[in-house]
C-alpha cells in the first residue's frame, strides 16, 4: 500500500531553536539529548531570541554552535560568574550556563556556590558524567569510589582522592536558590522528567523566581569503556545509588 504522505502527521522534528550544526559528541553520550531538550524548551517558552547561552570548557565547548541564540564561550569553571555579569547587565535576557562536573563542581566551586548563594536569576545545566571527558578520562570530583580513571588507574581510593561530591546537595544548603533538582536520561520516563525539570528551571527564570540548577546524570561511554546501553544501565543501577534522583529544593 503506498504511503499517503499528504495525510502524515509530523510528530517529531528538530527544535527551531537549534541550528542543525552537527554535534561533536561521541556516540551514546547524553550531551546531545540534553541539547535537544534545551532547544525544545527555548521553543516552547518562546525565549530563544532573548536568550544568552554560556558554553564551558570541555566536551561541550562547542555548545554555542547548537543554539540559535547569542552565546559566550567562557573560561573553565567561571560560567556562573560570567552568567552573573550577563544577567546583571541585561536583566531582561534569559541566561543559561551549561557546565560539566569538573567545571561546575571542581575548578568553578567558588563561582558556582556564590552565584547560587546570591540567588542570581539564571539557569544552570550541570552535566554530571563522573569523569573528565575531553582531556582523556581523568578523575572528576564526582567520580565514584573505586571507579577507574586515567588518573586513578587502580580506582578512586577515597583515602587519597576523597569521595564523590554531591554538589547539588551542597548548594541545596543555601537559602537563595529557587529550584535544585537531579535528573537522569537512562530511559524514556527519565528523559521526560528531565525535560520537565529543564522547562521548570527556565520558567522560574522567566518569572523572576531566581537561581535554578538542573543536575543531569550523563553518560560517557568512551571513557567509561562501556557500550551506550551498558552506560545507561550503569547510571540506573550504580550512579543513582550515589547521586539519588529528584528535587532537592523547589521554592517556586
Amino acid at each position: 500500500m503506498p504511503t499517503d504522505i499528504a495525510n502524515m502527521v509530523k510528530v517529531f522534528e528538530r527544535p527551531a531553536s537549534l541550528t542543525g550544526a552537527r554535534f561533536t559528541y561521541c556516540p551514546g553520550c547524553s550531551h546531545g539529548v540534553i541539547t535537544r531538550i534545551i532547544g525544545q524548551t527555548l521553543d516552547e517558552l518562546g525565549i530563544a531570541e532573548r536568550t544568552i547561552g554560556l558554553a564551558p570548557v570541555g566536551c561541550s565547548v562547542f555548545a554555542y554552535l547548537w543554539y540559535k541564540c547569542d552565546a559566550l564561550q567562557v573560561a573553565h569553571g567561571r560560567a556562573s560568574a560570567v552568567a552573573t555579569g550577563v544577567k546583571r547587565a541585561r536583566p531582561e535576557s534569559i541566561v543559561f550556563s551549561y557546565q560539566g562536573d569538573g567545571d561546575f563542581a571542581s575548578i568553578g566551586t567558588a563561582e558556582s556556590i556564590h552565584a547560587a548563594n546570591r540567588g542570581e536569576n539564571i539557569t544552570v545545566i550541570f552535566v554530571n558524567n563522573q569523569i573528565y571527558g575531553m582531556t582523556g578520562g581523568e578523575l572528576a570530583p564526582t567520580t565514584l569510589v573505586d571507579q577507574k580513571t586515567s588518573t586513578t588507574p587502580d580506582g578512586r581510593d577515597p583515602t587519597l582522592f576523597g569521595y564523590p561530591i554531591r554538589f547539588s546537595e551542597v548548594i541545596a544548603q543555601l537559602d537563595a536558590p529557587a529550584y535544585i533538582t537531579r535528573q537522569a536520561l537512562y530511559d524514556t520516563k527519565r528523559i521526560n522528567d528531565t525535560t520537565a525539570a529543564i522547562k521548570k528551571a527556565f520558567e522560574y527564570q522567566v518569572e523572576g523566581k531566581g537561581y535554578s540548577l538542573v543536575e543531569i546524570l550523563s553518560t560517557c561511554p568512551t571513557n567509561w569503556r562501556m557500550t551506550p546501553l551498558q552506560s545507561n544501565e550503569h547510571v540506573e543501577n550504580v550512579v543513582t545509588e550515589v547521586f539519588p534522583l529528584g528535587d532537592l529544593i523547589d521554592r517556586g
Partner: protein, 351 residues
C-alpha cells in the same frame, strides 16, 4: 566641568568611572583600593547600576567578562595580588575582543608583600600578565586629577578598540586627596552602539563571543586581527609628557607617582644649576619609544627612577638604545623615594 571636589585617588577613579558611564562594577576587597570599592557600593545602586562584591578576584573579572559581552561599560579594580588572580580573565577579555577597564592600585610585592605604594607590577601590566599573545592598553596617572581623566579615557579607548585597558596606579595615588573637577556624566544613549554584543538575537543572526578556535590556521587569523589592532593602537594612542627637556643634559624617565616627585627634583636641580628635565610616559603600553629615543639624541643621560627593581628601565633602554647613558635608581618594598634622595642620584650623573 562639574563642581570642585576634594577626593582620594581611589574615589576619583570610582567617580570618574561612574561619570564615564560604567554600568556594572564587580570587585573583591583589598587594600589599598578599598575606598574605590566602597565608593561604588554607595553610588552604583542609587543610580540603578550594578555593584556586586564578588566571591573572589577571579569571580569579579569573570563577571566583567559577562557584562562586557553584553556591551555595557564595565570595570573591576584591585591591588597587586588580586590582579594576579584576574590574569585568566584579562587574557580571555583580550582574546574575545572585549572592552573593559581594570584598575590596579599597586602595592609592594612579591607574594603578599605589603600595602605600601609600589610600581612593581609594571611587567605584569605591560608585558602580558596572562597567557597568550595579547596586549592591554596601560595608562599611568601621576596625580589624582589625572587619575580621573585617564579613567574616562580608559573607557573610551576600551570601546574604540574593543580591548581591556588598565589604570596602573599605586597605593600613594589611591590614598592621596587632591581637589579635582570631574566632567558631567556622559549620556549613556550617546555612546556608540555595539552591534557585536550579546544582547539576545532578536531579528538578527546570533552574536558569539569567544576567544578560541581549535584550528591552528583559524586561531592564527584571530591572532593576526589582534596584532593589527595593536599596531593601530601603537600608531595612534601613544601619550607622554616631556618637561624642561629643551636644554636638558639629564632627564629623569619616570611614570606615575615618581614622575610627580621628579617634577620637584627638576626644580631643585635647576636651582643648583643642573639642567634636568623629565620624560613621563602616560601610556605604559603602548610605550612612547620614539619620543624617548628622539630625546635621548639630545641629552647625555636618561636616569630611570622607579618604585621597582627596574622594570620600566628595560623599556627605557630599549628606547634609548645606547644613544645616552641609562643609569637606574629604584626603591622597592613600598619605600617611596624623597625628592632629596632622587636629587642625590641626579647629582651623581651631573657633570
Amino acid at each position: 566641568m562639574g563642581e570642585r571636589l576634594l577626593l582620594r585617588g581611589n574615589e576619583v577613579i570610582a567617580e570618574a568611572a561612574i561619570r564615564a558611564g560604567c554600568e556594572c562594577y564587580f570587585a573583591y576587597p583589598i587594600t589599598p583600593q578599598a575606598e574605590l570599592l566602597e565608593h561604588m557600593a554607595r553610588h552604583m545602586p542609587r543610580l540603578g547600576r550594578t555593584f556586586v562584591q564578588a566571591e573572589s578576584e577571579i569571580g569579579a573579572i569573570s563577571m566583567v567578562y559577562g557584562a562586557a559581552s553584553t556591551g555595557v561599560r564595565t570595570m573591576t579594580s584591585s591591588s597587586s595580588p588580586g590582579i594576579s588572580l584576574k590574569q585568566e580573565g584579562i587574557s580571555y577579555l583580550a582574546g574575545s575582543n572585549l572592552p573593559a577597564v581594570i584598575v590596579n592600585v599597586v602595592r609592594g610585592g612579591p607574594g603578599l608583600g605589603n600595602i605600601a605604594p609600589s610600581q612593581c607590577d609594571y611587567f605584569q601590566a605591560t608585558k602580558g600578565g596572562g597567557h597568550g599573545d595579547y596586549r592591554m592598553i596601560v595608562l599611568g596617572p601621576s596625580t589624582v586629577p589625572e587619575a580621573g581623566e585617564l579613567t574616562i579615557l580608559a573607557f573610551d579607548l576600551a570601546d574604540k578598540y574593543r580591548i581591556p585597558v588598565m589604570i596602573l596606579a599605586d597605593g600613594l595615588l589611591g590614598q592621596m586627596m587632591e581637589p579635582v573637577e570631574l566632567p558631567e556624566p556622559v549620556d549613556l544613549e550617546s555612546l556608540p552602539a555595539k552591534d557585536w554584543a550579546a544582547t539576545g538575537a532578536e531579528g538578527r543572526d546570533p552574536n558569539i563571543i569567544l576567544s578560541f578556535d581549535l584550528g591552528p590556521e583559524n586561531l592564527k587569523q584571530m591572532n593576526l586581527v589582534l596584532q593589527e589592532k595593536y599596531r593601530e593602537i601603537v600608531n595612534n594612542e601613544v601619550r607622554y609628557e616631556e618637561s624642561d627637556s629643551q636644554d636638558a643634559d639629564i632627564v629623569i624617565a619616570a611614570h606615575g607617582t615618581i614622575a610627580r616627585i621628579a617634577k620637584s627634583v627638576v626644580r631643585m636641580a635647576r636651582a643648583e644649576g643642573i639642567k634636568l628635565g623629565l620624560f613621563r610616559p602616560i601610556t605604559l603600553w603602548p610605550y612612547p619609544y620614539e619620543p624617548l629615543r628622539a630625546l635621548a639624541d639630545r641629552v647625555d643621560t636618561v636616569l630611570t627612577v622607579e618604585m621597582s627593581a627596574g622594570q620600566m628601565w628595560e623599556d627605557v633602554r630599549l628606547a634609548v638604545a645606547e644613544r645616552a647613558k641609562t643609569p637606574f635608581y629604584g626603591e622597592m618594598g613600598g619605600v617611596v623615594p624623597t625628592p632629596l634622595t632622587i636629587l642625590n642620584e641626579v647629582r651623581k650623573h651631573a657633570n
